[in-house]
Assembly symmetry: C2
Homo-oligomer: 332 residues x 2
């Protein structure tokens, strides 16, 4: 093996970084392929679920910790009794679209309930790249029409986020939102105060509809992606890569600046990913495991059925055929 | 919505079960596509890593809990000092093979060390389906040539597993291994005793090379897969599915039978999956995070370099360009 110099190491690190981007590009292609391949199966599933109205509440009861941790006891009541349907779509690649397959829309449908008027809440997440190199999901607040202030599960947080969002929109699409506490508008100050009051620990699942994430516009994302590709190309050809420092207003390192300062649901992107990459594709698995545990106490799953048919749950399972390996080891 | 009858429910459950299998078939196609697409990138990575001999030990230091939990302190010593390379391959689809892309081979290369003679240990896992419906990975023990009995990190467990395996092979390929304690051979009894003695909690990582999993032959797997497909086809056409019970010797429910009774590393399949689906694809991420934490205490990573170059670690990282979102939120 040749002796390793500092220069070799530096080049190797850069190469590894660039290789990661190539893996990421492949991953995007794979998701694109996967979405297209599974589309007819998800449609088939939706059709079957028309006959199983208690499906999604049961799935939610068995939800993995990365979803379950965000559901407060007060949320459970409304979700278990009125969640009717849940759908994940990759809206940027639907109908022949050539966008990013990592952008997702999560549509939640509800039965009539005591808490809000909406029968559908849909939240969109766009996959973006920032100038800094950060990549991930950003979103826009989705308002909820609470029936009474006392029924607002977010205790006013969501309404305030929507108000601040509308102010930002009025200031103009090109404008960066105010992210320094000293420049806050009255609505922003009120929101900040309320966030501290309600406490980050106990925010309702419905606060998720208020998640915004980093303020990265489509334009910034496109420019950052192109620049990144160009820099990789230059490095691959052994050419010098232009220094970032000539970007205007880019190199001021401002301590006051906190783009997440007014976020009522800071893990909103994580929850979206947990829903789209786990709850959604593995819903049948969670449903089956809910039935196996037989823990149907909280849900009237057989709603609409003859109440006498209580002993059929066990029958549904494929009878294990003899002495072979236990189900314990089955993979999803 | 139509009223839901017991019959509707039963049909819906069966349909969901069959749909899961269709999703699984798609997943297999996606893995096949992914392996082909990423192959040149993994080759590129291997080439870059030739210049970074400390790469894999560093990755292992930052390994996620689903790998790390299996590495005992005594294993760390030899792994950190002599792990040279790690490669995951999907051997059933290499060179145009049309096998199962979920079957994997994990090849571990070592530098000269005090513990064993082998410079390469390769463990293969075959993806199989049992008659019972169970699907997952099965394997064969891989012997290790310990330099002295005192250097055997598995305290004799692996040697015994290999001995029992060889007995099973001599009894004939078609024969099912002995899985009832009352029928054990002397070697099996000795193994059972040693498993109890060494304790399941503290088995060395190297015990993983002894993992066998459920005794499912290629023939059983192929037959089960075909039968399963046929049954799904019949159900989709609304035709009756033949009862499983006419299978010979299949319906005796034997309490004594314990196919995992002599397993020295019962989570062997889980560890294989954690390596192939997490450690292997995310290795660059773990390597980078190892460098960021700067926790290089245990490893002489710059082995072979001028010892004076201590301050370059920070330089390697791409300088963050200004006030944009923190790296905290970056996705893998």
């Amino acid at each position: 093996m040749a002796a390793i110099t500092e220069e070799t190491l530096k080049v190797s690190y850069e190469q590894l970084g660039d290789l990661e981007k190539e893996f990421e590009e492949n991953e995007v292609e794979i998701i694109r392929h996967q979405v297209a391949l599974n589309k007819p199966l998800y449609e088939k599933r939706a059709k079957i679920l028309d006959d199983l109205p208690g499906f999604w509440p049961l799935v939610l009861e068995q939800a993995p910790p990365d979803v379950d941790q965000y559901i407060q006891p007060s949320d459970s009541a409304v979700l278990l009794s009125s969640l009717r349907n849940l759908t994940v779509s990759h809206f940027e690649i639907e109908n022949g679209g050539q966008g990013d397959p990592r952008s997702i829309a999560i549509r939640v449908e509800f039965n009539e309930n005591d808490y809000f008027e909406d029968s559908v809440l849909e939240k969109k997440f766009w996959h973006r790249r920032a100038k800094s190199g950060w990549t991930g999901l950003v979103s826009e607040p989705v308002p909820i029409k609470w029936k009474k202030p006392g029924k607002d599960l977010t205790q006013g947080l969501l309404d305030l986020v929507v108000k601040v969002w509308e102010e930002d929109q009025k200031r103009g699409a090109g404008k960066v939102p105010i992210t320094k506490a000293k420049d806050y508008t009255p609505a922003q100050k009120e929101l900040k105060k309320k966030i501290e009051l309600v406490g980050m620990g106990g925010v309702s699942f419905f606060g998720w509809f208020g998640f915004r994430g980093f303020p990265i516009s489509e334009e910034e994302s496109r420019a950052a992606t192109e620049k990144d590709k160009e820099n990789r190309r230059l490095r691959a050809e052994g050419k010098p890569v232009p220094d970032e420092d000539d970007d205007e207003d880019e190199d001021e390192d401002d301590e006051d600046d906190d783009p997440y300062g007014l976020e009522i649901f800071p893990d909103g992107d994580e929850l979206a990913i947990a829903i789209s990459e786990d709850l959604w594709p593995s819903a049948i698995k969670y449903f089956t495991s809910a039935q196996e545990t037989g823990d149907m106490s909280d849900i009237d799953f057989e709603d609409g059925m003859d109440e006498d048919d209580e002993d059929e749950d066990e029958e549904e399972e494929e009878a294990p055929t003899g002495k072979e390996p236990p189900a314990k080891k089955r993979k999803a």
